[in-house]
């Protein structure tokens, strides 16, 4: 009898321990919501590449396997909200990464805040994304900085006295960036009339000749035209056709191979700000990332892949530091991040959860993105 009880106990203990062991072996789930279809698909794809690479390089933390679950938000707000809600409830993720596109990120904002699941944005640069949201963080800089960087470049490096702005009025990103550029440019030149023309178009437009003819007539020194890479490439092409020779400046969205292929020779000399460039590794982590990316994809990495990589690595680093994969613990850890060494630079998150870090300025030369300079945060 005693033996029997002993045996049963043994079985119980083994069962329990294996069950406990099993529980420990449960993977840590991190959700990713990015646009894989729709107008923002290119940005989403690039970001996910970086995240997948990071997973391959570091697939384990606290002795547990890490699993990422990628869902498509279709570049659509309602879908983005549904996707994030599904990640939280059905997949029970402890943290989320995403999304390319500020408006998509904002659609998720309320949900992650309420569910108390920490979320790290890779490239949403609109200031509103993290504002009043204790659970939203990001590894990129924000638009006020980016707009100012380009205005500085135009005035100090190019010696521009006047500028024209052509914005995509349907993109929050483009509208915001234009506004910051205009303010900074006026301040730097000290001339309230230095912005000679502000013109507008809609996403999906293909003909910009009318707007460009107006701009040409005002003879600006530079043209600031942030927008989707496709439309921007067409716009610059048509500008060159019309005989506009002045430099075009833009933002981080231009960094896509399609900008070069659609723009062709016309986009030669176009200058834009971005988060990172393969040509100027800033940290040892950059080198590591670049080498791994080259090996996996056989090409040079872009800024979005690097940001995706950083977002993932940052979350894992925090999990390691706080020693727990609990959502609340990760959030508290993220709020304290200081001097995290990422591929895109040293990341310190400020009180809003925004990364304070340097911007890179790139130029198109011989059909390639070429590094010009790095701008430190002011």
């Amino acid at each position: 009898m005693k033996r029997k009880i002993g045996l049963m106990l043994l079985v119980l203990v083994v069962a329990c321990s294996s069950w406990v062991g099993f529980a420990f072996a449960q993977p840590i789930k991190i959700g990713v919501f990015e646009p894989m279809t729709g107008p923002s698909a290119a940005g989403g794809e690039m970001t996910v590449e970086g995240i997948e690479l990071a997973l391959e390089m570091k697939g384990e933390v606290l002795g547990r396997e890490v699993q990422i679950i990628v869902v498509d938000n279709k570049s659509d707000k309602v879908e983005a909200a549904n996707a994030v809600s599904r990640l939280i409830e059905r997949d029970q993720v402890v943290a989320i990464i995403g999304s390319y596109g500020s408006s998509l990120s904002m659609a998720a904002g309320d949900i992650v805040n309420k569910a108390k699941v920490p979320t790290v944005g890779c490239s949403p640069t609109n200031p509103l994304v993290t504002l009043n949201n204790d659970y939203y963080f990001r590894v990129c800089f924000i638009d006020p900085f980016q707009g100012t960087v380009m205005a500085n470049y135009a005035v100090n490096e190019l010696g521009a006295k006047t500028a024209a702005v052509i914005q995509d009025v349907t993109q929050d990103y483009s509208v915001g960036l234009s506004k910051y550029f205009i303010d900074a440019f006026r301040k730097l030149t000290g001339d309230p009339n230095s912005i000679v023309e502000v013109s507008a178009y809609n996403t999906g437009d293909q003909d910009f000749t009318a707007q460009l003819t107006n701009v040409k007539n005002k003879q600006p020194d530079v043209i600031f035209a942030p927008g989707n890479y496709g439309e921007s490439a067409l716009l610059i092409r048509q500008a060159r056709d019309l005989g506009i020779e002045v430099p075009f400046l833009g933002g981080d969205t231009w960094e896509a191979p399609e900008f070069l292929s659609i723009g062709g020779e016309a986009v030669e000399g176009a200058v834009f700000s971005t988060h990172f460039t393969a040509e100027a590794p800033v940290t040892p982590e950059s080198d590591k990332f670049l080498a791994a990316y080259r090996e996996k994809f056989g090409k040079e990495a872009n800024a979005f892949a690097a940001l995706g990589y950083d977002a993932y690595m940052l979350i894992l680093d925090v999990i390691e530091k706080v020693g727990s994969a609990d959502s609340q613990a990760i959030r508290d850890g993220l709020a304290q991040v200081e001097g995290f060494v990422g591929a895109t630079g040293i990341i310190t998150l400020d009180e809003n959860g925004d990364a304070v870090k340097s911007a890179v300025i790139n130029k198109v030369e011989d059909g390639k993105f070429v590094y010009l300079t790095t701008v430190e945060p002011f």
């Binding site: 894989m36 279809t37 729709g38 107008p39 698909a41 290119a42 794809e45 009025v169 023309e197 013109s199 507008a200 178009y201 809609n202 999906g204 437009d205 293909q206 003909d207 000749t209 009318a210 707007q211 003819t213 107006n214 040409k216 007539n217 003879q219 890479y229 496709g230 439309e231 490439a233 067409l234 092409r237 056709d241 019309l242 005989g243 399609e258 292929s261 659609i262 062709g264």
Partner: protein, 298 residues
């Protein structure tokens, strides 16, 4: 830049855009004129035509000018199939039903485009001959902007001849008046409708190629706006009337450009312009500028 040359530049831009709208509107108006059916999928057939051309140029060794002929032909056959699947079974159904089917077909083609070609834009390989800039007294003109109006006018003349003078053309016109009588007269309705769809889709593809050469960015959703605007052009000109469609296209193109030229503050509203024109035309003269008035049948 002088005021005159700036105005001329705007005018050139307007004619260039207008002739593209006109080109696509021809196909639209032809299908409508004969079948009384708004082929919502016209813009998406246009998109298919551009993608076929893209793959033809990049992935086969066929010279580009031959691709410019083959791709529209294939697109025409696709259009013919589309009619057989989505519209023919509904020939006796109410208009709304067919309209819904047309909208469904449009979305099907768009999403198939996303599945097959991916959501990321592609660069249209514009042949060098078609892509360089000439300067005439301070006005910059891309060669393609000369070619498009020429193609449009040629098609206009050719089609008008076809419709009025050939046997098939006359059968089409008979069909547009009255199906039953036409079939009693020994006209093979199915054949004529197939031919109409083939030609309509072929024209859409030709328009698409010209569009791609002018605005070399390919996307699965690229057909939607040009499709809608060309439809509006067709309505403005009097739907079913080929010359009217061309006139409507030019009016719309020039109007859009001149809105920006004359009222720069309203540039953001440019996309709404076509729809405002549409609504005004529908209210003031629903039959369009060159269309005939239809009587209500009881």
């Amino acid at each position: 830049m002088g005021n005159l040359s700036m105005f001329l530049q705007h005018l050139t831009n307007g004619i260039s855009l207008g002739s593209l709208y006109a080109l696509i509107a021809i196909g639209y108006t032809m299908v409508y004129g004969i079948l009384r059916l708004i082929n919502f999928a016209h813009g998406d057939i246009f998109m298919l035509g551009v993608y076929l051309t893209y793959f033809g140029i990049l992935y086969t060794s066929i010279p580009w000018w031959l691709v410019f002929v083959i791709a529209p032909a294939i697109t025409g056959i696709i259009g013919l199939f589309l009619e057989k699947v989505c519209y023919k079974p509904l020939r006796d159904s109410p208009r709304i039903t067919i309209l819904i089917s047309a909208i469904g077909a449009s979305f099907l083609l768009q999403n198939l485009g996303i599945v097959l070609f991916g959501g990321r834009p592609r660069a249209f390989p514009v042949p060098r001959v078609l892509n360089h800039v000439v300067k005439v007294r301070g006005v910059s003109i891309n060669v393609i902007t000369f070619i498009i109006p020429v193609v449009t006018i040629l098609l206009l003349v050719g089609l008008t001849y076809f419709i009025t003078k050939t046997k098939t053309g006359m059968a089409m016109r008979a069909l547009s008046r009255d199906y039953e009588t036409a079939s009693l007269m020994g006209i093979d309705i199915n054949k004529i409708i197939s031919i109409t769809f083939f030609m309509g889709s072929l024209l859409a593809a030709v328009g698409g190629i010209m569009w791609g050469a002018r605005y070399p960015q390919l996307m699965p959703l690229m057909g939607m706006m040009p499709g809608l605007k060309s439809f509006i052009a067709a309505v403005v000109g009097g739907i079913g009337n080929i010359a009217g469609a061309v006139a409507g296209g030019f009016i719309l193109g020039l109007g859009e450009i001149m809105l920006v030229a004359l009222l720069p503050r309203l540039t953001g509203y440019r996309d709404a312009f076509a729809f405002v024109v549409l609504i005004i035309i529908l209210l003031v003269k629903p039959s369009g500028l060159m269309g005939q008035r239809e009587t209500e049948k009881v």
